[in-house]
Amino acid sequence: MAFLEIRGLSKTFPGATALDGVDLSAEGGEVHALVGANGAGKSTLMLVLAGVLSPTAGEIRLAGVPVAFSTPRAAMEAGVSIVYQETSALPEMTVAENIFLGREPTTRLGLVDRRRLYEETRRLLDRYHLPLDPAAQVGRLTVAGQQLVEIARALSIAARVLILDEPTAVLSLAEQRNLFDIIAGLRGPRLLILYVSHRLEEIFTIADRITVLRDGRKVTTVATADLRQADLVRLMVGHEVRERVPLPAPAGAPPLLEARLTGNPPRLEVRGGEILGFAGLVGAGRSRLGRSLAGLDPIDLRLDGRPVRLRSPADALAHGIVYLTEDRKREGLFDNLSVLVNATAAALPSLSRFGVVRLAVERRAGAAILERLRLVARSLAAPVRELSGGNQQKVIFGRALLCRPRILVCDEPTRGVDVGAKDEIYDLLLELARQGVAIVLISSELKEVLALSHRVLVMRDGAAVREFTGGEANEQDVLLAAMGSLPGAA
């Protein structure tokens, strides 16, 4: 009987299956890594275990006893707690106050027993060798220190299953090494550590066994010692046939857009009619680069070979650079406004005379572009929030196209979009390229980047690490570059 036994666990969201009959068994005393590419189901599995999401089907047993966690609190009480990637410690309070928040020891008078609070914290920190001062104010600690506070808090609540979600994402190298020492010190026969990460080096450093997920299914569980890095990547990628759409050849002209990069290659270039894909793991810095190309952070560029400084999105628009956000809900759409207003919002100067919008012209322009995108909506006057994800994305595309982009930067253009709309968006991007638009395509879906891009730029930890041209890119090499290879491994 395994310490943690998961059988047939499934989780479906409207329109998507995040987990599909996952089995997993893990023992007390081990560090068990969960790995998979973006969207493989790691996060969902973890959130189900922590009681944040409830599963659609399947069973979880802890030390042989079936458990159903309806809330994070129930999971904690059963002995499972989770340390999230972003810190949730309260900055104005001390380490001890944070660790025992909601469970403060009190005196007989009902006052908080500060002496015991600090003593118990000290004992906890000593027991797990966590280098923290109980009286320190959390807001003054480094990010690494704040993370240790959360680990201490998790251990003080529940010391049976500790889930760490990409704990190194926010840490420096020295802090990472320190964290690995701490994790090694935590190991004990009655504690299972589930370690979620997509960084190969660290998995090989600290995990005893690895469970690989792909497309919501479990691929396998293997002992780390029996595995080479290249094998792990192959397990993550699978052997699916890759479809390639024939790409239109880009113009042989000089680059339309050039920008300096940190890393290798040191420069980014896109020509008219060319699609440049950005690949990398979540948090690799692709979106940040995309946003600065769109003027959201000040940046120096060369457009048509001439130096240009962008200070704002308005500057970028004036130069024909149009940006499509990855988060259309929060950064893109005006939820309560009509489909038409959402589509024409960025192009109003060209649709008005003397500062007054010409309503008929606006309506014709909006209707034409949305028809071209095959938008399905009750009416152009309907609020945009009523539309499906795919149709909302089309509205955002319509807004971009009305600005007549020369350079289109699109971040996750098919996120939360159904399969049919996805194909339409792919066709649209290819069509735009054919018309001579330079396109920067940022996507976490490797297949999408590979199928659509003339060249693929891979980023890791905020820097460019490699550029693949034309047909030389394949999933395995790109993923390997995105994750960073283990020194000395095959």
Partner: protein, 307 residues
């Protein structure tokens, strides 16, 4: 250089030193007077400290104070036998109004600024429907509470000190107090830590309501009659005092001592300007500048405190 949380004490010390140059100011009688006059505002500001620390705001306390002043005087009509009943009436009304505000806050999830603006308006309507002129008379015991002396010391400032000490211990030494800080510092994180954030929010509104009860009794005692305009503007003065005292408007950080110091600063400023016989319009102007200046030195990070 930036003056941090301690800024208010420096400002207070500076104003005290400057005021010390005025001979009339230095008399003990005058100082006791300042403390007594500031007592009602101090009590309201103590209640508001809980609310703002918790990341909320309560605009209803001014009109609640007015309602209590009117009712206490009208019901008592100067009879000493009515002292105990009107005390209970005042406390019950404050606590009840706070409880309703808290309940609405938790149920409706309207921003507390708007919600309590609404309750403020309702209370104001009630006051002026009840009466548009001064009514009744405060019993002697309540007048003594507001303006009397105990062993030669003014009673109202003593009461404020007592309440301030209680508020300080509650906020720094009890689980509830820590939870107020936690909810103000990060409501979702507090909930994830298993804190009943709705109960904490409801409780701080009740505390704020009770602070209006006590404030109302003090105002009633000082005025002697139920003047319907008595509470107007009190809520803003209380909020200004709390923020001047270094409590972050977004919650999670602040102190009772800072609030008390800020109330004293406001009271002293008024007193000094009066002694200098400066016109009340110029007083408003000077007071506004002092508030803005004091907040600049007192709120760490300046504007960030309001972001």
């Amino acid at each position: 250089m930036r003056l941090t949380d301690r800024g208010i004490y420096w400002v207070l010390a500076t104003v005290l030193a400057a005021a010390g140059l005025i001979p009339e100011f230095r008399s003990l009688g005058n100082l006791a007077n300042v403390a007594t006059q500031s007592a009602a505002l101090a009590v309201l500001a103590l209640g508001q400290t809980f609310v703002i620390l918790c990341g909320l705001i309560d605009l209803s306390v001014g009109q609640l104070t007015g309602l209590i002043v009117v009712l206490v005087c009208d019901v008592a009509a100067g009879r000493d036998a009515m002292t105990a009943p009107v005390l209970l009436l005042a406390l019950g009304l404050g606590a009840g109004s706070g409880a309703i505000t808290g309940l609405l806050n938790n149920r409706l999830r309207i921003h507390p600024l708007i919600l309590t603006f609404g309750t403020m308006s309702v209370l104001q309507g009630i006051v002026f429907t009840y009466t548009d002129r001064s009514v009744g008379r405060a019993p002697a015991a309540i007048a003594w509470l507001a303006d009397g002396r105990l062993l030669g010391l003014p009673v109202a400032p003593l009461l404020v000190l007592l309440l301030a000490a209680g508020a300080h211990v509650t906020l720094t030494r009890t689980r509830f107090g820590m939870h107020v800080h936690a909810v103000g510092g990060g409501r979702d994180n507090a909930r994830r830590a298993g804190i009943d954030t709705d109960r904490v929010a409801a409780t701080v509104f009740v505390i704020s309501g009770v602070s209006a009860s006590i404030g109302g009794l003090l105002v009633a005692g000082r005025l002697g009659v139920g003047y319907p305009h008595a509470g107007a503007g009190f809520e803003l003065d209380a909020i200004v005092a709390v923020v001047l005292g270094g409590t972050s408007l977004t919650g999670g950080r602040g102190s009772v001592a800072g609030t008390v110091a800020a109330v004293l600063l406001l009271g002293l400023t008024n007193n000094v300007l009066n002694l200098l016989q400066i016109s009340s319009f110029i007083q408003m102007l000077v007071k506004g500048l002092i508030v803005i200046g004091a907040i600049l030195v007192n709120q760490p990070g300046g504007r960030r405190a309001f972001a």
